[in-house]
Structures are given as C-alpha cells and as structure tokens.
C-alpha cells in the first residue's frame, strides 16, 4: 500500500520576537493510503496545527508535506484549493456550514463548484449520502433548524461528496453528546471501511480506539505511536483496544 501523506521534518511557529515558539518542531509522519490515524496529545501540543499542516490548510515554515505524490508547498493557492476539493474532505469540531444555504445545498456546494453539468447526479448522490447518514428528512431545512449531531452529519456528507482520498477531522465529536458522538464515529468508521484514509485529531480515547495507529504529540514533537491494527468493531475488540490505548497513554503521562 502506498503512502498518501509524507511529512518530513516539518516546523511551524507562531508569535513574534521572543514570544515566537515552535508549535511543530521537526515532525515527520507517513500515512498509508486507507489507514486510520488518530492524533492525540494535551491541549496546546500542536495536534490541530499538525492536522492543518498535513492537509495544506496551513503552510509550514520548514520541512515538506507530500500529499498523494505532490509537495503541497509548491502548489499555488488555486491548485491547493483544487486538491482540497477533489482529494480531501474535512470535518471540524463545530459544523462549518453556510447559514445562507439549506442542508442539501450545503452538501452539494463543493461539487457544483466545478460546473452544473452533473447537477442531477450530484443531488442524487447527496440524497444517497443523507439517507446513509440518517438525515434525509433535513434536505430542505435551514442549518439553524438542525441539532449539533445532525449538522455534523451534514458536514460528513459534504466531506464525502467528492469521494476524497483522505478525510481530515478536527475533534469531530468534540461538541456532541455521547450518543451522537458514537453515531458519528460509527459513520466515520464505515467510511474508512470503504477505503478512505482517515486522519483525526481527538481528545477522546473512545474515538482514538477505532484508529489503526495513534500518534501522541507533545510540545510539537511526535512522542510516540501506538499501533492497534484494524478494528473489527466488536464489543470485545473495542474494549481490548481501549484498554491497551489507555495503558499506552498513561505511560506517556496523558
């Protein structure tokens, strides 16, 4: 299986003068195509910064990020936007939807950017995704008429519209109650089973339990990796994985 993301010795700093500090301090990460990677670490350790660097949402000060064989720093803004639209999907902690548009329109938005030729097919696909995620009744509703969990599903549908190679998630269940969080994670796991690479930042051990590999980041450096292998989602398997992960994290002082 090939590498979809290769980050080599990346450095990212924030602040000016004496206040300037490296949030990412020489991080190297390889992610395989189809892999499910969770990034964990204490607050301020650089998790989200790493996610944004790997997805090209943010530039790096040093080092390189190669995504699907292309070094992101060499791409223009527009080319980077094309990569995001065609090969990446994003799910954030807070649903980042446009209030002006209804649910269906939010979902199809990135796909219709490239033209209206396939409008019918695009809408059909969006409806199929809504059905899959259990929000088909929201189609014509405004985003203010949906709950947090429903909105997160809308975000996932939007992320899946372009059949992305990688889905990046930044605390996708962070703002949800446990029932909704479980449902969303089940959904993301299903998506991963279709062959989509997953890179999630999370605080939640139960979320990270579903990952094949967990990276622990501390003070801008990768402090270790816990490889759990493929998850079969059985109750026993999940319990065993969670126990192992908690033990490993405790070793790391988390």
């Amino acid at each position: 299986m090939g590498k979809i993301i290769v980050a080599d010795n990346i450095v990212k700093s924030f602040g000016v003068g004496r206040e300037r500090r490296n949030v990412l301090d020489g991080v190297s990460v390889d992610i395989d195509e189809g892999e499910f990677v969770a990034i964990m670490g204490p607050s301020g350790s650089g998790k989200t910064t790493l996610l944004f660097a790997l997805s090209g949402m943010d530039t790096v000060d040093a080092g390189s990020v190669v995504f699907d064989g292309v070094e992101l720093s060499r791409l223009s803004d527009d080319a980077l936007a094309d990569v995001r639209r065609r090969k990446m999907g994003f799910v954030f902690q807070q649903p980042t939807l446009l209030r002006n548009l209804n649910v269906l329109d939010n979902i199809i938005l990135p796909s219709v950017r490239d033209g209206r030729k396939d409008a019918g097919r695009i809408s059909e696909k969006a409806r199929a995704l809504m059905k899959m995620t259990g929000i088909e009744e929201l189609e014509t509703r405004g985003v203010s008429q949906a709950s947090g969990g429903q909105l997160q599903r809308v975000g996932i549908c939007r992320a899946l519209m372009g059949d992305p190679k990688v889905i990046f998630g930044d605390e996708p269940t962070g703002a949800l109650n446990s029932t909704s969080a479980n449902e969303i994670m089940a959904l993301l796991a299903d998506v991963h089973h279709t062959g989509t690479t997953m890179v999630l930042v999370t605080h939640d051990v139960r979320v990270a339990t579903k990952a094949e590999r967990v990276l622990f980041i501390f003070d801008g450096k990768i402090a270790g990796a816990h490889v759990a292998g493929r998850c079969d989602a059985s109750r026993e398997d999940l319990r065993a994985r969670e126990g192992a992960l908690v033990g490993w994290l405790t070793e790391k002082g988390f």
Partner: protein, 772 residues
C-alpha cells in the same frame, strides 16, 4: 467603559470609521455652506437694492414723454413716495470700442446713463453712489469680469475716448438675463454723445409701501400714461439678481441632501454589520440583565462621536470653502449686512445634521428590543430567513454557476444590509444622470422654445427708431427675395389693455403675428391661430387670473374684444408679462418689431448676420446661437461643469462606498470565506462571489437611479429651470450618456473597488479562521 468600548471599536475598524466620518463631514459642510450662502445672497441682494434704492415700479418708454402729465399723476397718487424719469441713451454695440474689440456682437442693449439724483443709484464696489467726472466712464461689472473692459484703459464711445474709471453695480440691469446694460458718464459727456443714439426713458417710482404695487400698476395703466416698453417691478429685480447664485445654492442643497442620505446609508450599513457581529454578545448582555437602553448607549456613543467629529470638521471646512463661493456674490452684490448671522445659521444646520444622525442611530438600535437573548446566545445570529430567498436553491438552479449563485443568494438573504449599498448606488446614479440630462436639456437648441423664443437662426429687432412699420416692411421685402432664407416671420409688439378677472385694467405687451411659423413650447394649450385667440406668459396668466380656455377682454382697435386663452408659455423677457396673438391692431402704437429668420443653410448664420447688420443699420441683428450663448451661456457652462464635477464626485463616492462595503463584508465574512476555502473554493472564486454581489446591486441601483433621474430628477430640474421662468419642460436625455456611458463608468468604478476591496479575502487563513 463606554469610552473604552468606543475606542476599541474605532481602532478595530479605522478605515470604516474614517470614511463614515468623512461623509458626515461632507454632509455637514454642504449644509453649513448652503445656509451661509442663502443668508449672504439674500442679505447682499437686500443690501445692494437698499443702497441703490432700486425702483419699485419701472416703466420703460420709447417715444414722446409728457412729464407734466406724469407729475400730475404722481401728485394724485398717494402710494408714490418718490418719482423720477431717467434717460437711457441706447447706443449700437459697435459704438463701444475697447482695446480688445467692440460690443458689436453683444446681444445686450448697451447704453449710457447719468447718475440719478433721488434713487436707482449706480454703485461702486464699496456700495457708494458713483459720481462720474467728465471724460470718465464706469462700466457694468460683467464687462470687467469677462475681460471686455479693463479699469484704467480707454474706451471709445461713439468716437469719444473715455477713461474706464471703474466697474459699477446696477441693481436692476446687472444680471445677464436683463437685456440692457447701463454705462455711467457725466452729464456733460451724456449731452455730448446724445446725438449718436436714441433715448429711452426709465419712468421710475418708489412707493411708501411695496404691498401697494399691484394697485399702483393698475392705476398707472388706468391713467393711460407712457407705456411704450416693458414694465418691471421690484420683486422681479430681486428674482433675477438672485438667479445665478440661487441656482448654485439649489445645486449645493441638492447635493447636500444626497450626501446626507449617503452618510446615513454608511451609518446604517456599519451599524447593521456591527449588530450582526455582536449578536451573541448582545444576547449575553440581555441575558445577564443589562437594560436595552444601557446596551444601546454603547453603540450610540460611537456614532455620536463620529457625528460630533464629522460635524465639527465639516463646519470648519465650510469656513474655508465659503470664501471662493461667496466671491461671486460679493463681487456682483457686495457684502451682506446680515453676514454675521450666517455662521450661526450654518451652525444650526450642522447641529440639525448631528441630531438627525443621533436620532437615526437611536431608531436603528430599536431592533435590540427584538433580539431574543436565548436565540442570540445559541446561534449567534438572527434566525430570520426571508422566504423569497429560501426558494432560491442551489440544488434547483441549473443555470447559474456556483459563485454567481452564492453571490446572488447572499444579496437576497442579507437584503437589509445590501439595500443600504443599493440606496447609495441609486443616489450616485441619480447624481450622475440628472445633472447631465439637465445640462443636455438647457444646452439643446429646442430649450429656447421653453423660454418664450421660437427656434430660429436669426432675429432682427427694429426698436427705438422712427417708422418701425415701414422699416420692418423693408426688411420683410428684402428677406422675401433672399434665396438663403427658407422661412421668416414678422412679429410686431404692441401694448394692449386687458381686463383682469377682478375687472381692473392691466397693460400687457402683446406680440402680434403668425406664431405657428416658429412655435414655442407651451406649458399648456397651443399657439394662437385665430384673431380671437391669445396666448399668455405664465406671469401674465397669473396676473390676469386666467387659464387656458378662459376669456380675456382686450381693447383691440378701441373696442373690447373677448379673446380666448389658447395657451400659456414661459417667458422671462420684458418683465415676464407678455402675450402672443394672431390678430391685427393697426390702432395701437408699435413698441418694436422683430423678424425671426430661418436660413436654408444654418452654417450661413454668421455671414448673413453681418450682411443684414450692414444692410439694415437701423436694426439689431443677432444670431440665436449668440443670443443663447450670451444670455444663458455662463449658466449652461456652469451647469455643464457642475454635471462633470458631480459625475466625478459620484464615481468617487461609488468607489469609496463599494470599497468600504466590500472591506466590511470581507471582515464580517471571514469564517464563511474560510469555510469556502476549506472545501476547495479558490481566491478567484471568492472574489467572483463578491463582484457578483456588488454588480447585482449596482445593476439594480443604476436601473432605479436612471428611472429616478428621469422622473423625480425631471421634477427637481423643473423646479430649478422654473427659476428661469420656464414652467414646464421635458428632459432631453442623451441615451448614449444616460444608458451606456454612465452605467459603464459606475460599473468600472464598482468593479475596481470590489477587486481592491476583496484583496484581503486572499489573505484569510483557513486554519486561523476555522480555529476561532
């Protein structure tokens, strides 16, 4: 706390606060200027007319004069306070030879006067009564101002060299619209030059009470006194003295209203945007028990500060700008005695603008009452979604690209916000199109037909000479044989008596002849065609109390004849009280006659004018183009300049406002832009969306602005043109300018401003905005 909140807010939005303050400053400056100019103009006219002791009633008369009969009339009439007869020595323009040329081409009746002893004084620039020494001549200030005459130079008057001793102010003949100009000489020089021209009498009266003017006019006519010439009254002198500066003030007032509207729009836009931004905070403040009035105070303080600073700056600027604008008034009319009141009135105007802004902001903040705290805290934004925009769906749209759709959708959803930009664009389109159309209208050849003159190439006047009828017949016979003349008409002017609705006798100056040859534009009705028709000027109709279809008894050949009013037209010539009829009256004396000529080749006008002037030395020949250029030229050119200036100003306003709005929107929409970027929209896409927003609002703005300019603008322009005596007119719109060039210029301005205004969109980092 309020001070800190205001300071932080201002620091966060420096450019926006600056532009809003600038508009408030511009608005208050214009209001203060208009107030100062109104006070000064009215005061200066009053001061000049008081010092000059302008006559209340003046009858011009050519021909024999019975002074004893006039003196007897004055003795019997209790209204008369003072009475005098002045002589005006009419000289041909070519008799005045200056260093740089003569007045041969002047359409004015130029002549000499001596200083009067009782009233109607000619004044120097200090407002003092001038006493001309022998060999000295004082020239109308207009000629000094336009460079025709230079003080200190010599002018040859009918061959007599005279030193130009200075300019003079003439309270009754100074304006360009007055067709005569008086030069002042000593009695000796006047006597020496008398044989070179014809004397016209100015029979002048001052009354104890100006309110008795109407009754006095009726008594004068009833007494059958000298009346071979126009009658002009004090109110008419006042109007024509104030006309050109009044026009300027009207334009300033109009622009200040528009700028105030723009300033209000700016404030409304920034306020709405700020409320949207602070929606959650407002909810929180309400939730923790702050009273709406306390929350409002924080917002009100910022705009009160902007209004106060803007008003002070505007008031200060008005002092710098009033000097050049007052220069013209000071030069032609002198200082106003009430000038010290002007800054106070200006300040009152400024305070009114300040209060209006505060009240406007207060009213706009009333929406705080309608913000539900729970909803604001939960969603951080108003949940109102207009139903019309809900039906406009991306999934149901098969024509528009995603960027166009998103731009249009946003305009529909946030229409309250965009309506503000729309208002500004409507106003700027109006400011561009309306003055251009006004200029096109008054510069068009047909405009003269609104002013009591037909559309002719040449006009030959026979006046103040013996045997007017025979001389006119000689001209007509000659024109008949002239192959270059395609049409001509002889119009003879006589003074006839008419009976007004209240039964009193009124003297009207009636132009007799065929008025269908070169028709006027009638504000109501049509030209007189039968010998029982009469058309009245607006002023005559008002004085007689008649409208179209009414019957006016007029004394024709010694007998009363009922004439039907066929039409009403505008006229500012001859005191404005004129009439036109197709009947013949050989009994009445001819005051003057005029021959209107149309040439088969209009390019021959200059050549023919010279030819006729030398062939008919007793007549005054003027080309209509010269007449228009000399009478209305400065006004037309001033309106032309003003229209170009307003186009420039409007384009700058358009660009500034678009820039302001775009920058504010980009700042407000940071998160949305970041979301769009995160899902693969490029910077160019985002820019396109904002350009779609501004261009769609622009298109609607130009459309509404054009409609408004051609409806409301026409009425407003009508009010301005009515000052010239034209009571009704139709806009002459240049379609290329109004429908192509103006929108294209605005589009260019909006596009450039949108592109510059959205530059920041490219700098928005997805990572930073989403993380927030």
């Amino acid at each position: 706390m309020v001070f800190r909140a205001v300071r932080n807010d201002v620091l966060r939005s420096k450019a926006i606060t600056l532009i809003t303050t600038l508009f408030v400053a511009a608005a208050t400056m214009l209001v203060a200027l208009a107030a100062v100019l109104v006070v000064n103009l009215a005061g200066a006219i009053d001061t000049m007319m008081t010092r000059a002791k302008t006559p209340h009633f003046m009858q011009m008369h050519a021909g024999d004069l019975d002074r004893a009969r006039l003196a007897a009339f004055v003795r019997q009439n209790e209204d008369v306070a003072e009475f005098q007869v002045l002589e005006f020595l009419n000289l041909d323009g070519s008799q005045f030879v200056f260093g740089g040329g003569s007045l041969a081409g002047s359409v004015q009746d130029n002549g000499l006067s001596v200083q009067s002893e009782r009233f109607d004084f000619l004044l120097d620039l200090d407002g003092n009564v001038i006493h001309a020494a022998d060999g000295h001549i004082y020239v109308p200030i207009t000629y000094v101002q336009d460079g025709t005459a230079r003080v200190g130079d010599t002018v040859s008057v009918a061959g007599m060299p005279m030193a130009i001793a200075g300019p003079l102010r003439d309270s009754q003949m100074q304006p360009l619209l007055s067709s005569s100009k008086r030069f002042l000489v000593s009695s000796n020089d006047f006597a020496a030059l008398e044989r070179f021209g014809s004397v016209e009498y100015l029979i002048e009266f001052r009354l104890h009470d100006l309110a008795a003017l109407g009754a006095f006019g009726t008594a004068y006519v009833a007494a059958g006194l000298e009346a071979n010439g126009p009658t002009i009254t004090y109110p008419f002198f006042r109007v024509i003295n104030g006309l050109s500066d009044g026009l300027m003030i009207a334009v300033i007032l109009l622009i200040s209203v528009l700028v105030i509207a723009i300033a209000f729009s700016c404030i409304r836009f920034t306020l709405l945007a700020k409320i949207e931004d602070d929606y959650r905070e407002i909810g929180v403040m309400k939730a923790i028990g702050m009273r709406v009035s306390d929350i409002k105070r924080i917002y009100l303080a910022k705009y009160a500060a902007i209004a106060a600073v803007g008003s002070l700056v505007g008031y200060g600027l008005s002092f710098f700008l009033q000097e050049p604008l007052l220069a013209n008034i000071r030069l032609y009319m002198g200082e106003s005695e009430g000038a010290s009141l002007a800054p106070v009135l200006g300040l009152i105007g400024v305070v009114l603008v300040f209060l209006a802004i505060s009240a406007f902001v207060h009213a706009a903040l009333g929406r705080f009452h309608r913000i539900p705290a729970a909803e604001a805290i939960r969603f951080g934004a108003s949940q109102e979604a207009p139903s019309a925009s809900r039906r406009f769906r991306l999934s149901a749209n098969h024509r528009l690209g995603a960027n166009t759709f998103l731009g249009l959708k946003d305009v529909l959803v946030r229409r309250k916000l965009f309506s503000t930009m729309l208002v500004v664009l409507v106003l700027t389109a109006f400011i561009i199109i309306m003055p251009r159309s006004l200029h096109n209208t008054i510069a068009s050849k047909s405009f003269i037909t609104y002013m009591g003159v037909g559309d002719i190439d040449l006009r030959i006047d026979v006046q103040q000479t013996d045997g007017i009828s025979a001389k006119t017949a000689e001209i007509a016979a000659s024109l008949e044989r002239d192959g270059a003349v395609s049409r001509f008409v002889v119009l003879t002017t006589k003074a006839l008596e008419a009976l007004s609705s209240d039964g009193s006798k009124v003297r009207i100056v009636v132009e007799l002849g065929d008025h269908s040859v070169f028709p006027l534009t009638y504000s109501a009705g049509r030209a007189p065609t039968t010998d029982h028709d009469i058309a009245l000027s607006a002023l005559s109709a008002a004085e007689l109390g008649k409208k179209v279809g009414d019957v006016v008894p007029v004394m024709v050949e010694g007998q009363a004849r009922d004439l039907t009013v066929s039409g009403i037209y505008s006229d500012v010539t001859n005191g404005g009280k004129t009439a036109k009829a197709a009947l013949a009256d050989d009994g009445a004396d001819t005051m003057w006659s005029a021959v209107g000529v149309e040439l088969s080749d209009a390019t021959l006008v200059g050549e023919k004018a010279r030819e006729y002037a030398s062939r008919f030395s007793f007549a005054k020949v003027s080309s209509m183009d010269d007449f228009v250029a000399q009478t209305y030229g400065p006004t037309i050119s001033a309106v032309g300049t003003a229209s170009f200036a307003s186009t420039g100003v409007a384009l700058i306003i358009t660009a500034l406002i678009t820039l302001l709005f775009m920058r504010m929107l980009i700042a407000k929409d940071r998160t949305t832009i970041a979301v769009l970027k995160s899902i693969g929209f490029t910077n160019a896409d985002i820019k396109t969306q904002y350009v779609v927003r501004s261009v769609s609002v622009l298109a609607l703005g130009v459309l509404l602005g054009t409609v408004l300019a051609n409806t409301l603008g026409e009425s407003l322009a009508g009010a301005v043109i009515a000052m010239f005596g034209a009571t009704s007119f139709a806009f002459v719109v240049n379609p290329l300018e109004a429908y192509l060039i103006a929108p294209a210029l605005m589009a260019l301005s909006v596009l450039l401003a949108s592109v510059f205004g959205t530059l920041d969109a490219g700098k928005i980092q997805v990572s930073e905005s989403i993380r927030e």
